[in-house]
């Protein structure tokens, strides 16, 4: 919060006391991710009831999922987590080039993942309305896809700022990379669960 104090030339608002040793934005993001987890959880509950409690086959006859395409696609998404981490490590060591390259690579990988996912939808040969299982499949992957898109938008903004020379190695100057990065890692980890439950199990 020192950064805030330095900018405080209006002089009105007293600086809030910092009663816990965490960054507010970071904590906010962690809580937001928690609620996102629960949102995914509600759809996993639907999956659980339809597949396990009700015991319906997964997936129904004639609605097979392309396991291997998804596997390759997962690899792409997971590697974007690595590039994101690299970007963050870069700025922590004041390596702006690593920051920029890392961000651009992450965006490209994420966009590729999303593109492949969309094309998978098109080539699946069945529609969300064709069965309860299909509804669960499309909404879980769709929900995840929506998170990818939001993540990409945030990362594009971050990249834009990185190219404009924002961010620095000091702790309070790279929260702007770290927090979007946290979100991106969440999107990736979430995919691990979505992928495992829908495609593998």
């Amino acid at each position: 919060m020192e950064a805030h104090a330095a900018h405080d030339d209006h002089g009105h608002m007293p600086v809030a006391n910092s009663s816990a040793n965490v960054n507010r934005e970071w904590l906010g993001m962690v809580l937001f991710i928690t609620s996102e987890l629960m949102l995914f959880g509600s759809f996993f509950a639907a999956y659980f009831f339809i597949r396990v409690v009700q015991g319906d086959p997964w997936m129904p006859e004639g609605q097979e999922l392309p396991k291997y395409v998804a596997m390759a696609n997962s690899a792409i998404l997971f590697s974007s987590s690595a590039t994101m981490h690299w970007a963050l490590e870069g700025i922590k060591h004041n390596n702006r080039k690593a920051l920029k390259t890392g961000l651009v690579l992450t965006i490209l990988l994420g966009a590729t993942f999303f593109g492949i996912q969309v094309s998978e939808y098109v080539h699946l040969g069945f529609l969300p309305k064709d069965s309860a299982q299909a509804s669960v499949f499309f909404s879980l992957t769709g929900l995840h896809g929506a998170h990818v898109v939001v993540g990409l938008i945030i990362l594009i903004v971050v990249a834009n700022r990185a190219f404009k020379g924002h961010y620095g190695p000091e702790k309070e100057k790279h929260w702007g990379v770290e927090i979007p990065g946290l979100y991106w890692h969440f999107v990736d980890v979430m995919w691990l669960f979505v992928f495992t439950t829908l495609y593998l199990l």
């Binding site: 007293p14 629960m38 969300p128």
Partner: protein
């Protein structure tokens, strides 16, 4: 005009909403043209999409996104931009504002507005129920009336009004200049009018208002008319609002407490909101999920709930109640906090068993996640689930009971000032205990099988929600009215309001236990002759109950405009919000106070809660709740320039 279209406000909002609607139209119609569908223009799909685009456009127009758009463009951040802070004239309350005190008032007024609408809907259907047979409305309208009554009361009143009170009071209590994320705070507020207006608008769409209850059970809601979509999307806005506010509260409580205010020195309202916000963050996404599924089924033809396609309609109930049981605690835990403040202040006694009060809140939220299926004892659910759910549900009465007994312990030996907030606190304890008792009865499976979905349940939840939560809200509003408005309310009107409400409340909801036990189903427009006498009595009491709200309104409006000027600390309370002027200065504290002791040390000689001076070395040892340190810090602080505002 052009200028007012560029700056945030209602003109820009109206204009961008029009654009939002056009966007929905173009999107839907364009997509249908591209896909080559038979009928290019589908008003139903356009309306569905516009229920998302128009509100987003409104949020932009009113100014919720200006700063974020500025940030998105890559410009440097302006951390200390307070341009949107504070209200100078009453019109400011109708604009985007980032001051938690303004937002708090905005919340309270908006939620009470929807409370009045919800109440009037209830008056209409109580009139319909005054006698068997149909009198004033048809069955479909009737179903719409009680559904929107419940939805407005729950999503637009009970849940957000507590967020409003806490918004105003909590940062002050914690010694913080504002909430952690003021802009997010404003955004969460502006979600509310959107949700409320959307629910109300469903009355004018073809097919009428949503008529499937606030629970919107599938498959009934899948094929219901258009109004159902309004409910589902409105619930999303209301839900997002609570989640974002809860995150804001949590971050504020965790990171922005005044120096020296450890968790164990935090006022119980802070604890209550901490627990509630945890519940909201963890549970509310499930109601979002359930309404997403309904929306997907309705708009995209998905089949989550259609048995013929392998769907499972009982799954909806599980997902829904996994939120909605915690939701009932979301609607009462903040009230527990308010009651602790009110009783301790007006009985001038330390809260009895402060730590147990906090622990029982945590016990309630943990147990609260393990009881949801008690709403499904008669649903086609596996029979064995009923037993564990019965036992956990009955157990939840224990921490609830601990709180009740501790309130009694707090009063015991106090100096009780029977001011209006205290009347409501007494009313709350008695009525809430009755509601808790009927709750435990309903938890008992064999009995619940007999009375589930009858008026007995209606009586139960009105005792806990009206006699419980709403009474705490009234207590809180009266208690903090001087702080919020700088004026005193009228005591005798407050007491009239209490007595009229208390009596007619019992007249309205007490007999519902009886008709419920005799087997009168809930949610019916018409009923058997045998229930006629009681229903007549209930309806008449309910009109008196409705009228009692008018006293409250008159008291609030009249006192706000011309009540006597309130001193800074009319109740001689210890918590921080009373140590600043009424209403507080723009940034709450000219200097952040230092907390040197517990918030409720009434009767402890020389004890202080907060002092207004730079932290001294002696308070460096805070963090350890050692009583001695506190006392020393307190006595040492007597000669400092304290702004303790006793007038």
């Amino acid at each position: 005009m052009a200028a007012s279209l560029r700056s945030p406000g209602w003109y820009r909002a109206a204009f961008s909403m029009a654009i939002g609607w056009v966007v929905a139209f173009v999107l839907v119609t364009g997509l249908r043209l591209i896909l080559g569908w038979q009928q290019e223009i589908s008003w139903e799909s356009i309306t569905t999409v516009s229920l998302i685009t128009v509100p987003v456009a409104f949020l932009y127009g009113i100014g919720c996104m200006d700063y974020w758009l500025y940030w998105l463009s890559g410009k440097p951040t302006k951390v200390d931009d307070h341009a949107d802070h504070g209200a100078r004239k009453w019109q400011d309350y109708f604009h985007f504002n980032t001051d938690h005190k303004v937002i708090g008032i905005q919340y309270i007024c908006t939620t009470f507005f929807f409370f009045l609408i919800g109440g009037m809907l209830a008056m209409v259907f109580r009139a319909e129920l005054i006698a068997p047979g149909m009198q004033f409305v048809d069955a479909q309208t009737f179903n719409g009336l009680f559904s929107s009554h419940a939805a407005l009361m729950i999503f637009l009143f009970m849940v957000p009004v507590f967020a409003g009170i806490a918004n105003y009071v909590l940062p002050l209590m914690l010694g913080a200049p504002d909430m952690a994320f003021p802009r997010l705070n404003a955004l969460s507020f502006w979600f509310l009018p959107i949700a409320g207006v959307m629910m109300c608008l469903s009355f004018i769409v073809p097919g009428g208002a949503f008529a499937t209850g606030w629970t919107a059970y599938a498959p009934l809601s899948m094929n219901a008319p258009m109004g159902q979509t309004f409910f589902s999307i409105a619930a999303q806005f209301a839900g997002s609002s609570s989640i974002l506010t809860a995150i804001n509260f949590l971050v504020t409580i965790i990171t922005m407490r005044a120096p020296g205010m450890t968790f164990w020195r935090m006022p119980l309202l802070g604890w209550a909101n901490f627990a509630t916000s945890l519940l909201v963050v963890l549970a509310t996404p499930f109601v979002a999920g359930s309404q997403f599924m309904i929306l997907f089924d309705r708009a995209l033809g998905m089949n989550f709930f259609d048995a013929a396609q392998g769907g499972d309609s009982v799954m909806y109930q599980h997902v829904f109640w996994f939120y909605s049981h915690p939701a009932v605690y979301i609607m009462v835990l903040p009230g527990f906090g308010i009651i602790s403040e009110v009783i301790s202040t007006h009985a001038r006694k330390p809260v009895f068993g402060y730590r147990m009060m906090a622990f029982s809140l945590l016990a309630i939220i943990v147990l609260g996640f393990a009881v949801w299926a008690h709403h499904m004892f008669v649903a086609p659910m596996q029979n064995w689930i009923r037993i564990p759910m019965m036992l956990t549900t009955m157990l939840i009465a224990v921490p609830t009971g601990v709180k009740v007994f501790s309130w009694l312990g707090t009063m015991w030996g106090g100096v009780i000032h029977m001011r209006t907030p205290m009347y409501w606190a007494f009313g709350f304890i008695t009525m809430f205990v009755l509601g808790g008792i009927s709750g435990v009865m309903l938890a008992v499976v064999p009995f619940d099988i007999a009375v589930s979905d009858t008026y007995f349940v209606v009586a139960h939840f009105h005792y806990v929600l009206f006699g419980g939560s709403l009474f705490t809200i009234f207590a809180g509003i009266y208690h903090w009215f001087p702080k919020m408005t700088g004026r005193m309310y009228n005591e005798s009107l407050g007491k009239w309001h209490f007595w009229l409400t208390f009596i007619s409340f019992n007249g309205t909801f007490g007999p519902q236990h009886l008709v419920g036990l005799e087997g009168m189903p809930r949610r019916v427009a018409d009923y058997a002759e045998q229930f006629a006498a009681w229903n007549m009595f209930i309806s008449i009491s309910s009109f008196v109950l409705g009228a009692s709200v008018l006293i409250f309104l008159y008291n609030m409006i009249y006192s706000w405009r011309s009540g006597p000027i309130a001193p800074a600390n009319p109740w001689h309370a210890h918590t921080l919000e009373w140590q600043v002027s009424s209403p507080p200065p723009m940034f709450n504290f000219d200097e952040v106070p230092t907390v040197v002791g517990h918030p409720y040390e009434y009767g402890v000689p020389g004890a202080r809660h907060g002092i207004f001076k730079e932290p001294e070395p002696v308070v460096a040892t805070v963090g350890a709740p050692a009583e001695e340190t506190v006392a020393e810090g307190a006595t040492g602080a007597d000669d400092t320039s304290s702004t303790d505002g006793d007038a």
